[in-house]
Every structure is written in structure tokens, then in C-alpha cells.
């Protein structure tokens, strides 16, 4: 995250490849389910042996035996509907919820976040030197309407996507943050409104960032978890 600051986001998880390296973020939507971005995986049917999800730590490289760290292998991947750029990961076992690990709410189906809503992104990705690379960084962003966003994006933003305003200083997601959450504080709780997907430019100042709009795919998420 560029232009962020160390912070806490107990539903943000770190996806680890077989070498144990962090390569993407994700959001804990159920004790055994992580929602992340499609771009993080080479295929919907790739072998997941050795891939893990790390939770319960703020550190990019937690020491062995760090209290609170949970390392859970990924058991299954389900790709979202075409165009969703989403993937649901099922873990081999349920995580333990505590102060460091919490679920994030899913929005109602088709819920549209009102423009101006304050949200935040979180991740262990590239800070471009603006923050502490060794811990989880969080950045605050404001939602703008698709209409306003499409002015600069020249109509390319779809309804299954949503935008946040570009700030004067470069603030936003970058390499290694993809799949992470755009969480908005609504009605007294944090809701997963968007998923960080690769944008053409990282944290470009005065340029709106685009996210996948989770509410469009909530029925799919529930269906997968139910089936």
C-alpha cells in the first residue's frame, strides 16, 4: 500500500506460495473461506499444494512461533463468474477467531456504497518507500460514484466495479496488495465492499482507483459456501 500507515485489519490475510513468500492479499469472509483476486493465481485449476494463508499477524515476515500467527493450507479454489475477477479459497480447516483474526461482513446483494463513504484498503504490498515494508499498511480512501469515476476512466468502469477518489498525494494499492479488501465502515461495522485488483498505475495521484464491487457477487459467494 502506497501512502498508508501501519494499522490493524484483522480480516486481511496474506497469501503465501510454496516458498512461503507473500504474493497477494485476501479477506476472511467465513471461518474457512477467503475472498481474493483472480489475478493472483495462474489458473482456476492449478494445484494448490503448498499454498497457505497466514493470518493473525501484522508482520510481513513473522518469526516462527510468533504468538497469534495462524498458517492454514489452501484446500480448494473456486473462480467467480466471468468478469468478476474474484476467487474464493477454501481453507483446509477453520481459522480461530480472536482479537487478531476477525470476519468481515459481506454487503447485501447489489448494495451500492454511497459516494463519500470513508473506506480503507490494507495490505503487505509495495509501499514505494512511503511506509514500513515490514508490517501491514492501511490507507484511507473515499468512495466516488461510477458516474464520476467514468469521467476520468472514459466510461470503462463497469457496474460490477467501484471507485475511490484519487488524492493529491499518491495513496493506494500496489504490487502485492491485489486481492486485499476495500473495507467501509457502515452501520457500525466493517463491510467488504471492494476487492483490490491490478490497476493500470499504482496509487496514481488525482486518479480514481478501481475495485471489484463485492455486492454484485454476494449471491455467488453464498452459493459457493452453501454448496
Amino acid at each position: 500500500v502506497v501512502g498508508g500507515h501501519p494499522g490493524n485489519s484483522p480480516w486481511t490475510v496474506s497469501l503465501r506460495n510454496r516458498q512461503g513468500q507473500h504474493f497477494c492479499g485476501g479477506s476472511l469472509v467465513k471461518e474457512q473461506w477467503i475472498l481474493t483476486a483472480r489475478q493472483c493465481f495462474s489458473s482456476c485449476h492449478m494445484p494448490l499444494t503448498g499454498y497457505e494463508v497466514w493470518l493473525g499477524t501484522l508482520f510481513q515476515n513473522p518469526q516462527h512461533g510468533e504468538p497469534g500467527l495462524q498458517r492454514v493450507p489452501v484446500a480448494k479454489m473456486v473462480c467467480g463468474p466471468s468478469g468478476s475477477q474474484l476467487v474464493l479459497l477454501k481453507l483446509e480447516r477453520s481459522v480461530t477467531l480472536n482479537q487478531r483474526v476477525a470476519l468481515i461482513c459481506l454487503p447485501p446483494e447489489w448494495y451500492v456504497v454511497p459516494p463519500g463513504t470513508k473506506c480503507e484498503i490494507a495490505g503487505w504490498g509495495e509501499t514505494k518507500g512511503t511506509g514500513n515494508d515490514t508490517v501491514l499498511n492501511v490507507a484511507l480512501l473515499n468512495v466516488i460514484s461510477n458516474q464520476e469515476c467514468n469521467i476520468k476512466h472514459r466510461g470503462r468502469v463497469r457496474e460490477s466495479e467501484m471507485c475511490t477518489d484519487g488524492l493529491l498525494a499518491p495513496v493506494g494499492a500496489c504490487e502485492g496488495d491485489y486481492g486485499g479488501p476495500l473495507a467501509c465502515f457502515t452501520h457500525n461495522c466493517w463491510v467488504l465492499e471492494g476487492i483490490i485488483i491490478p490497476n493500470r498505475v499504482c496509487a496514481r495521484s488525482r486518479w480514481p482507483a478501481v475495485f471489484t464491487r463485492v455486492s454484485v457477487f454476494v449471491d455467488w459467494i453464498h452459493k459457493v459456501m452453501r454448496l
Binding site: P47, V112, R200
Partner: protein, 499 residues
Amino acid sequence: QRSPLNDFQVLRGTELQHLLHAVVPGPWQEDVADAEECAGRCGPLLDCQAFHYNVSSHGCQLLPWTQHSPHTRLQRSGRCDLFQKKDYIRTCIMDNGVGYRGTVATTVGGLPCQAWSHKFPNDHRYTPTLRNGLEENFCRNPDGDPGGPWCYTTDPAVRFQSCGIKSCREAACVWCNGEDYRGAVDRTESGRECQRWDLQHPHQHPFEPSKFLDQGLDDNYCRNPDGSERPWCYTTDPQLEREFCDLPRCGSEAQPRHEATTVSCFRGKGEGYRGTANTTTAGVPCQRWDAQIPHQHRFTPEKYACKDLRENFCRNPDGSEAPWCFTLRPGMRVAFCYQIRRCADDVRPQGEARAWGLELGLEAWNRRARARSRPDGCPHPPQTATTAQGSSTAARSARPARVSSASAGPLRHRTSRSEFTFTPEPHAQLEENFCRNPDGDSHGPWCYTMDPGTPFDYCALRRCADDQPPSILDPPDQVQFEKCGKRVDRLDQRLSKLR
């Protein structure tokens, strides 16, 4: 610090059975700590050629035979791993082959070997013992002949001849950077012995064989699991962690042997991508591969000749998740090139669906009937649903749809974990295994699949061009949230206190 297991080749989850019941293997020894200790017991014994290791009880059973012995058979086992002495199993030789205990019994000229216990037609002074391993008429090298294993022949005119068994080094060559190398060389270029991949001593390492099933990290053979320039291994020398192996290269380097290359999109991990994209997803220009500024690296074009590391194009020379490059930005060493399109590796759209495809599925299709539908395969608008219906039967992931029994009652489907029942829309009429949308899924027609790993999937159907869904941008009023989304913000103050 070599492990006694270095002399053994493992077959996981395998038992070696002797078909002659009169022949009994050794007793199970439960007082061993691990497989290494078993290997330590079997290694020095001349009549121990292999052993079973029970992964749950940690016991071991020494065996006087291997899978190449007569009347034996390999059997899958949930309890045991089978360790066999390399010299009995390898089909190639190390050094001059003095230790070779394979079963080749013909000479390089094709002559059958004379049994060592026979003195006719060629008399000789050798007496078979367990130590010299002069079994039957197998090629051996009892006198350390530099030409490798040999034997007396059954042709009186030819007293003895070499058997021409290849050295392990020559037996397998290296394509490209050797990611596919599966040979049996277990020495580095300086002659050090390799450490086993399934051991963490003397060097700790992340390449656990169970995590890298596709890298063939067998025993202590040279391999290339991390996209290095050529096969390597951790060494048994505590002073040197890892070292390359000296292996012969196969033919021309220019092209990978079996990878299909793409230029406008990438498939799988993009190892075959040969396009000209030269910025990262974030738009940062890529560094030339043949430059070491601003980032020093080991991926030079000459060492990775078949990875096409031209100019500053995005490539995937090391098996990463997608094509990537070093960037020109000093603070950002590497980055992925996700902006490159993925090749359309799922099923091409077989037809179209209107609204959410609720109208599909009124009647079974046959090829002629489909010819009668509208030329674009699109059903009529909802208010005039007629008999022209779609017959797509493949999910997006190309998994065939499972047949639904079209009983009028609730639809029962058993998935591996739960029983899923629902009452379809009255007009869904689930026929055969055609894609349908009985539960009004907003993402269109779907089906259960024949793949147990994929209970259901959407079908590759394109939305009819003249059917746009209603806009979602006028938000619903009421908002209901589940019990979640709470966090303790005091945590990060504690972190700052940490600072």
C-alpha cells in the same frame, strides 16, 4: 554430514511383496527413531537390499530383495514407504560402476552373459559372495575396470565384454535450464554429495518434496525447483549450502522442448509468453534483462537462452505465478505484468442467454432442433418464450454438466459434504444436462459438473446483445449485515507503543 539414507531411493506409500509365501522378510523392528536409523541398520548389511518404513509406528522391516528380484511385486500402501539401495535400483552407474547391482545381463555386443557361478564356456577365478555381488549372470565390475561393469560371455569366442551401461551423468541430459531434469546424478560439480531434499540437515531449506510435487525432488538427486540456471542441490558439506551439478546439455537451447509459446496473451503461469509487453501492471517500465542497473540479478539472457529474455519484455523464467520483470524504479525490484491478457483457456461461448437465462430449458434439443432456433442461438424475449431453447452442456471450466433427473419434485443433489435441495422455478424444467438457471442466479445459467472438485460452475454463455440488465446504481434502501465486521482499534496503538 551425509545421511545413511543417501544410499537409498524411496518409493512413498509403497510396499514390496514377495509372492512366494515360503520366503519370509525380516521381523519389524519398532525400536528405531526414524528412517535414517533404519538406513543405518540396513546399509552395512550385505543381505539387506531394502527396507519398509512404517510412517505411523516408525518401525522398519529389513528386506533381502528389491523390486528387481524375482517373485516380487510393488503394492500401494497407506502405511509404508519403501527404501531400496540405489545400487540395486539405478539403471546407470556412478564412477566406474563397482557398486552396480542392477540386472543387466547382456554385453554391449548383445551377447548373453555367463553366470558367475559357472566356469564354462569361460573358466575364471571369481566366486560369487554377498560382498562382491556376483549374482546370476548380471553385469558387474569386481576388478574395478574403468570401462565399467562387464561379464564373461556365453560365446566361447568372446571371453568377456563390457556391458556398456551408461553413467548416470550421460543417462539423462538437460533441456533449457533443467527444470524437467529427472536424472539420477547425486553429486555436485565439485564432487560433493547432495543432501536429500526430504531432510533439513545439514542445511535447512524450503523445498519440501510434498510441497513441490511437480518438481520431482526425489531422494538427493540434482534438481532445479527454483528456476536457477541449471540443476543444483544442497550439499552434505556443512560449509557449502548449495552447488550446481555438472550435467550434459541436450541439443539446441533455443526452444523449450514442449512449451507452446504465445505472444498476445499468456496461458498457465506464462512461461511460454513471448510477447512484447514491457511495463508492469502499475505501468512502471521494465529493466532490460541484459542490464544489471538499477537491479542486479542472475537472469541473464545467455544463461536462460530458451526463456527468450529479450530487451525488457515481461517473461517468466523461474516458474513464478505470472510473467514479470525487474523494473526501472530503484525502489521496486520486481513486479508482475498482470495487464497481459490471459488466453481464453475456458470453453468458447456455445450460445447466448437472455436476462438471467431463466427461459432456457423447456425442451430437449437435438442437433436439428437447434438448427431451428434463431440464427444467433438466442431464445425469444421472455414474454414470448417458445420452444426454442439452448442446449449448452458444458460448464465454463469445460467440465461436462451432470445429468439432472427431471423429476417434478424438489431437486435433490448430493455433494460431497451436504445434501443440497431447492425447488426450481416452475418453468425451469431441467432436461438432461443442459445448462439452466433454476434458482434465478444473477450470473446466469449454471450446472452441476462431473468433476467432484467442482460441484457447480457457470456456463460459457454470452448475454444477448439486446438485453442489458437493469442498472444497480440506484441503491436499495434497507441494509442488513451479518454479525461481523468488528475490530479492536486499540491494537495499532499497542503497535505504536511497540515502536
